[in-house]
């Protein structure tokens, strides 16, 4: 069916403009923008980890130089901020995962809670493993 319209074009509609600060107006919008921003810090951690691994792979001395650099206040500060964002990233994306998937067992939908719990469990298991690994 095709609307014939009411000649909307020759009417004076008021078109509200979206403010550049739209994302500060609502808490959920703000959290969303922070979540998007957190990807930058994920990228930073990846780079940091690569530098770390590279240094370890080079030599004892390179490793010590890296540690020295990493203990500079600005690097520590950056990493703290990055950690906060990575945690935000993790918590928000873990919570959103069930919405992106329709997991069914026996034709019935697996409740979101189980999917979220599954991810945290996985995170815990991997973290414990890594902890064990580095304390050897």
């Amino acid at each position: 069916m095709t609307p014939s319209g009411d000649e909307m074009t020759d009417m004076r509609l008021y078109r509200p403009r979206v403010s550049t600060w739209w994302w500060t107006r609502k808490r959920s919008y703000f959290v969303f923008v922070m979540r998007e921003l957190s990807s930058v810090f994920i990228a930073w951690f990846v780079v940091y980890l690569l530098l770390f691994v590279y240094a370890v792979g080079q030599s004892e001395a390179a490793y010590r130089r890296f540690l020295g650099w990493a203990s500079a206040p600005w690097v520590v500060g950056l990493n703290v901020v990055a950690l906060v964002f990575v945690l935000l990233h993790t918590v928000t994306w873990f919570s959103l995962t069930p919405q992106a998937m329709d997991v069914r067992l026996d034709g019935r939908r697996v409740p979101g809670f189980h999917i979220i719990a599954g991810q945290y469990t996985g995170l815990l298991v991997v973290s414990l493993f890594v902890l064990w690994l580095v304390t050897q």
């Binding site: 095709t2 014939s4 009411d6 000649e7």
Partner: protein
């Protein structure tokens, strides 16, 4: 702003975009794609009141069911006022139409084996009501609307209000409509017009109906010279929520709900509706017909056995024994509505309910193909009165009615339009007159001395008094007198809102004019029917009188604007009038 001449031309113009209107449009697009069809509606189609129907749509599919039984249930439910040839056609075509809807994607609730499920419903001896959870009308409307989008050749005029039909020499030639958003008035010529504008519950103060149900199509037809039929038959649905009037579907009773008075007693057993049992018995107790259940409520009020609420007397709907699981599967919308609007959880608490105006059995008089006596003018759905519902409609018959007669009227209008001649030029003058009337008497008038809301409130209060569940001649006389006064006062209504853009005050004024005309018809027909039948119960004439009144009453508009009544015999084919028996 208004058009000088005619705006647009089509072969068929459908007024109203609900189940009947959309079904008609699709029927025409499928049978005769070469025809130019348009649908004009004062709201976007998905807002049409079909959307709020909850319980289901009846169609014979069970192995132990038969067309004859559905016919008998419908005819006896109608207190023998239904035209039996129309009922037979309806019952035969209903399952086909519902199946067609299934093919179009309607999410009918299913049995475990994948076949469509059916449930019990009031007044039906067998389970034959198809349902989509408890949002059947919603799913049907959206299925129809979304399917209609396939047919790009059908044009739509959304949010345009038809103010007048163009008629010349007993033939319809189109309509004049005002665009709500722009205020632009245009004439739309058409060889055939199908009225599918729904009911007129808003002439009453307390109704399940939406704000839009103001009897527009009925008024348009009435003024165009097409008679209305069976206007005195107004259905009161037994279970509406007390303040809002929101519908609690009959399906709640079909699934096993009970009606209790203030003493926790299932009072329907006192009114020849059977004896109570734990599980629902078809055509018995809470599954009796709506008119009898609403009448029982009034008797309970008289006997002082109803509970008091801030909104008048109520009884209770008890769903607690159904259990949370059943309610969440079969009646989720009911639970939502009770929680939201009454702050009551039907799983644990009693739901206060009372009878509320719900449906108009009467409407534009049509034959079995939706045709009115005005050539080219058709009607279908609640706007029309074929009649398959007679003096009382059974629940779950009106949704398939929209489909069956929407399709029939569509096909009949298409056939007529294919053969119809050209539009005479005299119609342009009529259109011009209407445009000038709207400009002069409404848009250009400025504030008047009467308030639309005040007149509307008085009309509604009058109708509640005069056309309630039980009526008397003197009350209806008095009501008619008040309405006549209101008709005089309404001339002095003006508009404080001078804007052309989405002027809902103008809309309210136009709707009020329609409602006043319709109300007069309801009371006039009510006064002249001196018997009690179905939903028209008179304490001064308490018996059914087949000798004098086994006929419809047509209401014609006289040249002076008064209502003139003419009887029309009921078509009886295979079911001679008998006693309506429920619970025995």
């Amino acid at each position: 702003m208004s058009d000088g001449g005619t705006g647009a031309a089509h072969d068929v113009l459908i007024v109203g975009g609900g189940a009947a209107g959309l079904r008609a449009a699709i029927a025409i697009a499928e049978t005769d794609p070469g025809l130019d069809v348009a649908v004009v509606s004062k709201v976007y189609p998905m807002r049409s009141h079909t959307v709020s129907a909850e319980g289901g749509a009846a169609g014979v599919i069970a192995a132990d069911d038969s067309l004859d039984e559905h016919c008998y249930d419908t005819v006896s439910g109608s207190d023998w006022l239904a035209d039996q040839d129309a009922v037979e056609a309806f019952v035969r075509e209903a399952p086909e139409e519902l199946l067609q809807l299934e093919h179009w994607g309607c999410p009918w609730s299913r049995r475990p084996d994948g076949r469509v499920a059916v449930r019990a419903f009031g007044g039906m001896k067998k389970m034959r009501t198809w349902f989509a959870a408890d949002k059947t009308g919603f799913h049907m409307l959206h299925t129809l609307f979304q399917t209609s989008l396939k047919y790009g050749e059908v044009r739509r005029y959304d949010e345009q209000f038809v103010t007048r039909l163009l008629v010349d020499d007993g033939r319809v030639h189109g309509a004049v409509a005002i665009g709500l958003a722009s205020g632009r008035i245009r004439a739309i010529t058409a060889k055939a017009v199908i009225l599918c504008t729904g009911g007129c519950g808003k002439v009453f103060p307390f109704t399940t109906n939406a704000n839009i149900n103001t009897g527009d199509g009925m008024a348009l037809a009435y003024r165009a010279g097409a008679p209305l039929k069976d206007m005195e038959f107004v259905q009161y649905h037994p279970t509406g929520l007390p303040f809002t009037g929101i519908l609690i579907t009959e399906a709640a009773r079909a699934e096993g709900g009970w009606l209790l008075n203030k003493d926790g007693y299932r009072y329907l057993q006192d009114y020849d509706l059977g004896t109570p049992s734990l599980t629902p018995q078809l055509r018995s107790m809470e599954l009796g017909p709506r008119d009898r259940l609403s009448q029982a409520f009034v008797h309970e009020v008289e006997r002082g056995r109803t509970a008091d609420s801030p909104y008048g007397p109520i009884t209770y709907l008890d769903l607690r024994h159904l259990g949370e699981k059943l309610i969440d599967t079969k009646l989720p919308f009911v639970r939502e509505l009770c929680l939201k609007y009454e702050r009551i959880d039907p799983v644990h608490e009693l739901v206060p309910v009372r009878p509320v105006v719900h449906y108009m059995m009467g409407g534009v008089s049509t034959d079995i193909d939706g045709a009115t006596p005005v050539a080219g003018l058709y009607a279908a759905g609640e706007t029309a009165c074929v009649s398959i519902n007679g003096a009382n409609r059974l629940g779950s018959n009106s949704l398939p009615e929209c489909l069956v007669f929407g399709a029939r009227a569509g096909r009949a209008a298409a056939e007529y339009a294919s053969a119809a001649g050209t539009t005479p030029s005299v119609v342009e003058a009529q259109a011009g007159d209407e445009m000038r009337r709207l400009e002069r008497d409404l848009l250009g008038k400025g504030p008047g001395t009467e308030s639309i809301a005040a007149i509307r409130d008085q009309m509604q209060a009058t109708m509640e008094e005069a056309a309630g569940i039980f009526r008397t001649g003197p009350e209806m006389e008095k009501g008619a007198g008040t309405l006549a006064e209101l008709q005089e006062r309404v001339v002095n209504v003006g508009l404080a809102d001078a804007s052309r853009s989405f002027n809902t005050e103008l809309l309210a004024a136009l709707e009020l004019a329609n409602m006043l005309d319709i109300s007069e018809c309801i009371l006039e027909a009510g006064r002249q029917r001196e018997e009690s039948r179905g939903a028209h119960q008179r304490t001064d004439f308490p018996a059914r009188d087949d000798e004098q009144f086994l006929s419809h009453l047509l209401v014609h508009r006289g040249p002076d604007g008064s209502a003139r009544i003419e009887p029309l015999p009921v078509t009886i084919t295979r079911w001679p009038p008998g006693e309506r028996v429920y619970g025995r």
